[in-house]
Symmetry: C2
Subunit: 408 residues, 2 copies
Amino acid sequence: MGSTAAEPTTLPLTRASVVAAHALIKPYIHLTPVQTNTTLSTLASTPQSPEALKGTPWEGQPPARPKIKLFFKCENFQRIGAFKARGAFHAVRRLVERQGLEEVRRRGVVTHSSGNHAQALALAAQTFAIPAHIVMPAISTPSKIAGTRAHGARIYFSGPTAPEREAVVADVLRETGATLVPPYDHPDVILGQGTMALEFAAQVDELVGGRAELGVHREGGRGLDAVITPCGGGGMLAGNAVALRGTGVRVFGAEPSFQGADDARRGVERGERVRSVRSLTIADGLRTPLGEWNWGVVADEEFVGGLYAVTERNIRDAMRLVLERVKCVVEPSAVVGLAAVLFNEEFRGVVEREAGEEGWNVGVVFSGGNTTVEAIAQIFREVPEERAERQEGVVGMDGERVAENVAG
Amino acid sequence: MGSTAAEPTTLPLTRASVVAAHALIKPYIHLTPVQTNTTLSTLASTPQSPEALKGTPWEGQPPARPKIKLFFKCENFQRIGAFKARGAFHAVRRLVERQGLEEVRRRGVVTHSSGNHAQALALAAQTFAIPAHIVMPAISTPSKIAGTRAHGARIYFSGPTAPEREAVVADVLRETGATLVPPYDHPDVILGQGTMALEFAAQVDELVGGRAELGVHREGGRGLDAVITPCGGGGMLAGNAVALRGTGVRVFGAEPSFQGADDARRGVERGERVRSVRSLTIADGLRTPLGEWNWGVVADEEFVGGLYAVTERNIRDAMRLVLERVKCVVEPSAVVGLAAVLFNEEFRGVVEREAGEEGWNVGVVFSGGNTTVEAIAQIFREVPEERAERQEGVVGMDGERVAENVAG
């Protein structure tokens, strides 16, 4: 589909390009809030118990002792409920610059997505009175179909597989001459997603510098030391890495390990992009393999400091903490970064070694909050045995760690 | 217990007293954010369908057509996850002023509560190194007991009934000489809760005046026209009413109707306070009858413009909307104000008549967010038949109203 996609932007993948992207999309997106939470920062700074490490790759090892102050970038409060609005608005704005508004309005835009990108592109297109053609699997949840349609998009149903989906996209392209705006594998999309990092760094600077009453432990100190984001197709991770390169803020990615959804980590390990993923991880936004453009950034250690995998249980435990302590509604994909900070000993060891006694201010991106009460109930209904263990205090968020922190 | 309670403050129940309370507690509480949501404002401004009114007192009547822009004061992000921190900090600060810090530290404070006030008083006492004695029913949920204990409070267990609870409190008073800080029926507590109204009004002024990009429909226009809060014991409602009297901002209260939990509304109707409530409404923070001090304010139409009751289904529907659209975790008690705005035709009629074409900026207080994923699952598992109806678009948030608004 390369030839029918939007022509690659002339903007290089640099921080300056992200700054330009931010200027362009600022009127159309929310400046999402940054939250802190004493309970979770204390939990992140408390070693996991030997019990909690049983059955993990780190069983029997002494637990890491990192010092971590957490900051949460709440993209669940972004328009359409997820960060995808940033990339979609940027891609559409750049397309209008290249083709002219009348031409874009004549031809329209097209994408395939069952999730947040569909709604994001529909909203961005609607804002400029551009027709949007969205190809969705017929099995998509009714609320997502309704959400996309509510923004005036025309929906095309396809079968669930990639070839079926692409066949319908090809039909639309032929009939309409619309331009493809892919969900993550495009420089305009990467630069758009990176805009969150500019806001995040500035917001944490302000919090750390100006408001000692928030309990920030280093008055007047530096802001973010590191950012960790979820990684599915890699648009957000690559965008953050591009935006923060050269600033001294390290960027890390987190993935689910379930059924090989940690394709970026595995690809970097073997030196070659993993092109196909078939995972049914509960982090359903992260079931896709890393895109080509995204791989170019994510696999480059000048950009991304490391990739860390988390289990389904880690994701559920992190999601519970965000819902019950931070009081934010997040989708499972949104908490894999926090899960890595709390439960991945490899990441925690990095922080312990590199940050030492002083600790790090770690920025965690909550990527989106598009879920339902039924989905939440389903996620926590699945695992009664985990619940029993949790109440006995033997799993991830074990008794000792929570006892110190509850309701802070 | 009147003689053992903190002596009534010398401060009268006036706006000036709330301003003084705010100055006193500001360093210890969060300035909680105010959120807006296009979807919910549109929904509030869309008439309910005749179908949705079937089986309600308004069946067969033409639905009201109010114009409403909603603003949410997110006290679920307050310390300990609920507004109760305000009243507790204020009561403790005033007690220290009257008795002296050393005396308060020697005698301690005591209260009975199974919920948010227990944690709030424990936190406030801990902040000033004051011993806190908290009487809780032995059947309280373990997480709330742990949360209270985590703030260093000493827990005393009692039976579930009021006499059993009061007997234990009397024991503690005898043994320790501690001062009782009641959960709502005290001027210091009322004035403390009222501080949220000062912030709320100022925050909305800023949003309406300064930031047209948020989609506020009246640039440079006035701020809040009305505030609606949940009403249980009445501390928050009375506090808001005291804080806003004379400002032109009207104040309303909302209650669950289930098993007579709308005791304030019924009391005002018959001209006498209802002294006892036995309701198991899912809004478990609102099962208590209005307190005496609170009645003095709430029953006075100079302070409170009206009280409106909502059904359990209304509460669930509102809670779903807040979780899924606003992406905020709220407890059922927190959404009865929103439920009244969306579903109570009497309230909606008032707005239509008084605000006319220009509409009202209605401030809704989300009082707290202390719930669990299991409790959320339970609330929405209870009613499969409602879910089926909802998916067919025949209940409260009916098809037509949501179709226009989904994912906004």
